[in-house]
């Protein structure tokens, strides 16, 4: 067990739900159950080696926060065992211990003490905390005058200066401006790299994949999946996608009126709906027209689900077409390699006139394909690169 920083065995948490406060009192007196049990966690087992990060993911109400609360020692499990080694600090809510009437500086002492620092350590680390928080002269203003972001900055500054052996974070990074978030991330990354053990719960898969080698997917209080982050996270995201698709209408297909002079008949992704990194992508487009003398160009747009335009392929610019001399056409777009790293993408297919301006027909493939990538890095694209040591130009 000693090589594990955290070990959880058969953990269960059951809440008692009472319809009225009176029921609780009556149950205590009469010794007869008057509650409905709610199983927040059931049969949770996992071990976390020292110096690793574990990302806890799952939908709202899946038991993530309950699990972190038990690990942080805030609430007791109903049954099962939790074993933690070394000092533990938890940030379940930044700034929850702040007293609004007191200044930031006055609040530092109590908060740092609650994280386990002694008097000397508090004195020693206060300048570092103030510096990290970047609050400047606001540090001597009452906390009630702070914005949410400022409270968060101070809260996080205190937590990171404590430097525990096990750090438990619940969604604490989701507030604050991008700059400070980045600063916190750098700090957490350094913490994990220096051998710290991190348990983090977030809806932002970005954080999970950034800090955690392993991920735990909780679903309705049970472990749905536990394993390497690059396996668990895509599975969870696919689950979420499938869920949101289910509720929506069928993919919207904009079809030209049958009377239009030219129509897209079929668009087919020959390489399938899963794109393997560094593999080819082939798209076949079939269309028909009434007059064989008509000439066509094609345009394919690649968008992220949030409509960020990632790439476009226009035949008139890349040496394809114009296609003419038939009433039925079949054209393939062949992309030898896509440098995309993750996400699901949609494809827009435009059937254009010879001038490459007028649009005859449009086809949209929602969720056309999902990119699978082993390493799961940041960003949208993987760009080939190399590093060279030394200053002289080659």
């Amino acid at each position: 067990m000693s090589d594990h920083a955290v070990a959880v065995h058969n953990l269960t948490k059951t809440y008692r739900v009472y319809a009225r406060p009176l029921d609780r009192l009556l149950e205590g007196i009469l010794r007869r159950p008057r509650h409905t049990p709610f199983h927040a966690l059931q049969g949770i087992n996992f071990e976390l080696p020292r110096g690793e990060g574990l990302g806890i993911i799952g939908e709202n109400g899946a038991g993530k926060s309950t699990l972190l609360k038990i690990l942080a020692g805030i609430t007791a499990p109903t049954s099962g065992e939790v074993w933690l080694s070394g000092s533990v600090a938890s940030i379940l809510e930044l700034g929850s211990a702040f007293h609004g009437e007191l200044t930031g500086r006055q609040n530092i002492a109590l908060n740092a003490a609650m994280f386990g620092l002694g008097r000397d350590q508090v004195v020693e680390r206060t300048p570092g905390i103030i510096e990290f928080s970047e609050l400047g002269h606001f540090i001597d203003q009452p906390v009630k005058t702070y914005s949410t972001g400022m409270v968060m900055r101070l809260g996080f500054a205190i937590a990171v200066q404590v430097e525990p052996e096990v750090l438990i974070i619940d969604e604490a990074l989701s507030v604050g401006d991008g700059y400070f978030q980045k600063k916190c991330m750098v700090h957490l990354k350094r913490y994990v790299d220096a051998g710290g053990t991190l348990l983090i719960c977030s809806h932002a898969m970005y954080y999970i994949s950034a800090f955690c080698q392993r991920a735990l997917w909780l679903r309705e209080g049970r472990v749905e999946s536990l394993g390497p982050t690059q396996q668990v996270v895509p599975r969870y995201e696919a689950f979420l996608d499938a869920k949101s698709d289910h509720g929506e209408e069928a993919p919207q297909i904009v079809e030209a009126a049958p009377s239009a002079p030219a129509r897209i008949d079929e668009v087919c992704l020959l390489t399938g709906s899963t794109y393997r990194h560094r593999g080819p992508l082939e798209l076949e487009i079939r269309w028909s027209c009434d007059d064989p003398k008509m000439a066509f160009h094609l345009c394919v747009g690649l968008n992220r689900p949030d409509e960020l335009e990632v790439a476009s392929f226009l035949s008139s610019r890349s040496g394809g077409g114009p296609w003419t001399g038939a009433t039925h056409h079949t054209v393939r777009l062949e992309i030898p390699e896509l440098p995309l790293v993750k996400n699901t993408f949609k494809l827009y297919v435009f059937l254009l006139a010879e001038d490459a301006l007028h649009i005859h027909d449009t086809r949209i493939l929602e969720d056309a394909f999902t990119v699978e990538y082993d390493e799961y890095p940041f960003g949208i694209v993987a760009i080939p690169h190399h590093w060279r040591e030394g200053g002289e130009k080659s």
């Binding site: 406060p21 942080a72 007791a76 379940l92 002492a109 109590l110 003490a113 009452p142």
Partner: protein, 258 residues
């Protein structure tokens, strides 16, 4: 561990004490205003209007001084219990989100109340000096009185704080009970005015002994017979045992209930 708890307790007490006055115009001066106001009201009502006088056997003939000796411990006990009752529920954000010994929240409000009492006591000693009634010979009795008072307040405070998490009516019930307790303790009247058949029961009130200890301590008296302290000592021990037991039994589920 204990060392760290004490440090944390100090910080909690400071937070409670400072936090209360930070932001108000008069700030710290409220420490003096509150006891003086009670003193003025009670003196007018009981001495001027109702003509209560400390009477024979008491160590002072000045009603205000007599009254203040009783008010001092009472105010600390009352404030301690009332604030302890809501100490856990008011700090729900802390209890639910941070891992720390939550019993410190109860200790902190009791200590803050004691700090208020100390300030009022200092003021009172100055007044006694001015009126020429200051005698330091009995002050050592406070070394007996204060620990008993703190023990009683903390014990009852733990009990009330824990029960209030599950049964929020506790705070209301408490303020009613405390009102009764105030008038059933010889604070605004001397025990000698109480008819014998009731005085016997009043002597069983642990606060009767506490108030007596304070009067003896502050007005140059002597240690009362130990037998008269039995109700106070018993009540202190009992409330400490029951209060801490109940609090520690219920503590693991505080975070789930508030």
């Amino acid at each position: 561990m204990l060392h760290h708890s004490l440090f944390l307790l100090g910080e909690f007490t400071r937070r409670d004490f400072k936090g209360r006055y930070a932001g108000s115009v008069m700030g710290f001066l409220w420490c003096f205003v509150q006891p003086l106001w009670s003193l003025a009201l009670f003196t007018f009502l009981f001495s001027t209007v109702m003509k209560v006088s400390p009477g024979i056997g008491e160590r002072t003939s000045n009603f205000a001084i007599f009254l203040f000796c009783g008010l001092l411990p009472w105010m600390a006990v009352q404030e301690g219990i009332i604030r302890a009752t809501t100490a856990i529920t008011e700090n729900a954000g802390l209890v639910k989100k941070v891992s720390f010994p939550s019993g410190l929240l109860v200790w902190a409000v009791v200590l803050a109340a004691l700090l208020h009492e100390a300030i009022a006591l200092g003021l009172f000693l100055v007044v006694l000096g001015v009126t020429g009634e200051l005698s330091l010979s009995g002050l050592w009795i406070l070394l007996v009185a204060v620990p008993l008072q703190v023990g009683l307040t903390v014990g009852l405070g733990f009990l009330a704080a824990a029960v209030n998490v599950f049964f929020r009516d506790t705070a209301q019930i408490n303020s009613m009970l405390l009102q009764g307790w105030f008038y059933l303790t010889p604070i605004v009247y001397p025990l000698s005015l109480v008819p014998d058949r009731f005085a016997r029961f009043l002597a069983l009130n642990p606060l009767t002994a506490l108030v007596t200890l304070y009067r003896e301590a502050l007005l140059g008296g002597e240690m009362p017979p130990l037998a008269s302290l039995i109700p106070l000592v018993m009540a202190t021990l009992l409330s400490l045992v029951i209060g801490t037991w109940v609090f520690h039994r219920l503590k693991p589920v505080f975070a789930d209930e508030i």
